[in-house]
């Protein structure tokens, strides 16, 4: 129904209105027959009434009998109907209003539809243009893409080729290098092999030689050790000698020898020292026979006190000293 209405709203509305008019005329028309009030307004309806009038006349006659019986009832029913009509009228007005509203609504809708249609067309046109544009753009894009792709491809290919060439070159170089290295290695190996062979050959002789050298080295080391030991003892002796020399110097510098005594005199002293060189005692172990000479040497030692002596362990050699005074002239 709706779809029908939707599809032919005007036809539906016309049909409804027609039905309603028929019903109304059926009841009211009798009353209203003396007074053709509105022949003009419903030409179609009058015509239709004419077609149906025979039926209705028959009917009316038959009904006239029923109707007479029923007149009071009918009256009442008529009133009801009147009421109902009234009500229907109202309803109809309402309906009319509604219809009108509906109509305006429909009109608006129609307008809207037209507009929509127009819009649709426009839209369609726009869309078509758009589509066209889009297509063109797409086409263009596609062309560009193709072009780009081609360029990229070309470039890629070039890079690749380059890369490939480089890789190839590198590979070749590496290969060459590898080859050279391998050659080198091989040669080294060969050399090593030869060397080893030579070594082996030599080793036999060298071993002999080495043993001799080792023996020599051992001997040399022994000699060196001995030399070292000697040097050390010499160093000690040197230190000792230095102090001996210093003592000798100091005593000689303090020895005022009386030239008056006979030549060829000599004298021996035993001197005891404390660390630091302090003279603790001076003893004449062999007199010169001349008191003056003996005294001069004793005095020389006392005047030279303290004597220069080494510090620490080196002192021990100097704790007890024999001093021989033998004038050289």
């Amino acid at each position: 129904m709706r779809d029908i209405f939707k599809r032919n709203p005007l036809a539906v509305v016309l049909a409804v209105v027609m039905h309603a008019a028929i019903i109304a005329f059926m009841f009211i028309g009798v009353d209203w027959l003396e007074k053709p009030v509105q022949p003009k307004s419903n030409v179609d309806i009058v015509q239709a009434k004419v077609v149906d009038q025979s039926k209705v006349d028959a009917e009316v006659a038959r009904l006239k009998k029923a109707e007479d019986a029923k007149k009071a009832k009918e009256q009442k029913r008529l009133a009801d109907i009147q009421r109902k009509l009234e009500k229907e009228k109202k309803k109809l007005a309402e309906l009319e209003r509604k219809r009108k509203a509906k109509e305006s609504e429909a009109k608006a809708a129609e307008k809207k539809r037209a507009e929509a249609k127009k819009r649709a067309a426009k839209e369609k046109k726009r869309k078509a243009a758009e589509t066209k544009k889009k297509a063109a753009a797409e086409k263009k894009r596609k062309a560009a893409a193709v072009k780009k792709k081609a360029a990229a491809e070309k470039e890629r290919k070039a890079v690749e080729a380059k890369k490939k060439a480089a890789a190839e070159k590198e590979r070749k170089a590496a290969e060459a290098k590898k080859r050279v290295e391998a050659e080198k290695k091989r040669k080294a190996a060969e050399a090593e092999r030869q060397r080893k062979a030579a070594e082996a050959k030599r080793r036999a002789g060298a071993e002999k030689k080495r043993r001799a050298a080792e023996a020599l080295a051992a001997e040399q080391k022994a000699l060196e050790d001995a030399l070292q030991a000697e040097l050390e003892s010499e160093r000690m002796a040197t230190e000792r000698d230095q102090f001996i020399f210093a003592i000798k110097q100091k005593i000689q510098n303090n020895w005022l020898r009386p030239t008056t005594v006979a030549d060829g005199l000599s004298c021996k002293l035993r001197v005891r020292l404390i660390p630091g060189g302090g003279v603790v005692s001076v003893t004449i172990t062999r007199s010169s026979g001349s008191g003056a000479f003996d005294r001069s040497v004793e005095t020389a030692v006392y005047k030279a006190d303290p004597l220069p002596v080494p510090k620490g362990a080196g002192f021990e050699a100097f704790r007890d000293l024999n001093l021989d005074f033998i004038p050289s002239k």
């Binding site: 020895w255 005022l256 008056t260 003056a292 005294r295 007890d320 001093l323």
Partner: protein
């Protein structure tokens, strides 16, 4: 080998750190010595009354003696920091600090009867012990002699050699007289020139005094009779005798060490030669016979040799010959002039006048090495004579045209003019030790 084992021993000793005693102590040989003078301090002597202190300053005389010998370096009293008179007063540290090896302290006391007692002590400063000390009674007149005696004791103790301070010297003086003539005298004085005594005087030259070995007599040449004669005179008695008065020169007498003979120069046979006169027998024996001049003989201390001056080589040089005669041997070759020689008491050296350039100086010749050492530095030094201990040589020198006596230590370091000289003083002869 010994050295090596000593090295090993040393190492062992070093390893055994605390070992105190070991078998062979280190021996160090001391061969060189200083030959300088010994430092000695003679502290001024004290005086203990009653009465006036004597005019002679004993400590000053000792100081001067020691200093003059050349063997000692004495300390001026102004440099002393203490003046001890006895050993009890001595703090040896004072003197050690001053570098003194020896110290002399002493005092003079009156003996109450006009005489004195001189007491002295000699200390070894470094050992802090007394080396010698005496109390010597003396008189005012002998105070100087006592001082010289103390000097001798100190000198001998410290040098090992007998001192020669208490000895005397003979010499000839010549003093111009108002008459125009000169007064010549043979004098004897202390070795320091003090206490001169006249032995003989003359208006004619007196020459060549020579001490007898006992120190009691002097032989000398006198021209008193107009020609030279040789006399021997006893110093204390003045008794004298003429022993040689030959024709020509009678000169340069020299006593043999035993005192029995005189060697002398005579020209009785023509030119001067050396003769030996036996004093007891009065016999004369020629020692040299040469046409050149031979003069100034001197005996060696052992009496075996005589040295003299001869110009037989063209110039005066010293020759040596056995005292019994024989072959002459020249012993001086250095210099063009060497004369007036005499032996040192030990016979190892001779002293003489030697010409150095244009100057005549005193030299000493070592007979072992024949090294000549020049001791004096004058222009006209003459007549050298050894002190009896050989430590000094006395000689005559000319200072401002005046002849004076000077003494020089045998190492040439100390020279000193002798005091109290009047007029020309020549030909000193150092007396031997008195017997």
């Amino acid at each position: 080998m010994l050295f090596n084992s000593m090295k090993k021993l040393l190492i062992l000793v070093l390893l055994l750190l605390c070992q105190v005693a070991h078998g062979a102590p280190l021996t160090i040989e001391i061969t060189e010595s200083e030959m300088g003078a010994l430092p000695i301090a003679v502290a001024p002597f004290g005086w203990q009354g009653p009465g006036q202190a004597p005019s002679e300053d004993i400590s000053s005389i000792i100081d001067a003696d020691l200093k003059r010998s050349g063997r000692f370096k004495t300390m001026p009293s102004k440099d002393m920091i203490a003046f001890p008179h006895t050993g009890a007063d001595v703090d040896f540290r004072d003197w050690k600090v001053l570098g003194m090896e020896s110290l002399v302290v002493g005092q003079v006391k009156s003996n109450g009867v006009g005489g004195y007692i001189v007491r002295f002590q000699l200390f070894d400063v470094f050992k802090g012990e007394q080396l010698t000390g005496y109390s010597i009674p003396t008189t005012a007149r002998d105070l100087r002699a006592t001082a010289h005696h103390i000097s001798d004791l100190i000198y001998e103790k410290l040098t090992g050699q007998r001192g020669a301070f208490a000895t005397r010297v003979a010499y000839i003086t010549s003093i111009a007289q108002p008459t125009g003539k000169r007064k010549i005298a043979l004098q004897v004085a202390d070795a320091d020139g003090y206490h001169p005594q006249t032995i003989v005087t003359s208006t004619e030259p007196l020459m060549s005094p020579a001490w007898s070995p006992d120190g009691l007599k002097l032989a000398y040449v006198s021209f008193e009779k107009g020609r030279p004669s040789i006399f021997i005179q006893e110093v204390y008695t003045g008794k004298r005798q003429r022993v040689a008065s030959y024709r020509g020169i009678n000169g340069a007498p020299a006593w043999s060490p035993d005192g029995r003979k005189l060697a002398l120069t005579l020209s009785k046979d023509g030119n001067p030669d050396i003769f030996i006169l036996d004093l007891a027998k009065r016999t004369l024996q020629p020692l040299t016979r040469h046409y050149a001049i031979d003069t100034e003989p001197a005996w060696s201390p052992d009496g075996k040799y005589i040295i003299w001056t001869s110009d037989r080589g063209g110039r005066p040089q010293i020759y040596r010959i056995s005292s019994k005669g024989g072959k002459a041997e020249r012993i001086t070759f250095e210099g063009k002039y060497n004369a007036r020689s005499s032996y040192s008491p030990d016979g190892k050296l001779i002293t003489m006048v030697t010409q150095i350039g244009r100057d005549f100086r005193i030299g000493v010749l070592d007979l072992a090495s024949f090294q000549l050492q020049v001791l004096s530095d004058g222009a006209l030094d003459e007549s050298p004579s050894f002190a009896p201990n050989g430590s000094m040589v006395i000689y005559a020198t000319k200072i401002k045209e005046q002849a004076e006596l000077a003494a020089v230590s045998i190492d040439g370091r100390v020279k000193q003019r002798l005091a109290l000289q009047v007029g020309d003083v020549r030909e000193p002869a150092w007396a031997p030790y008195s017997q």
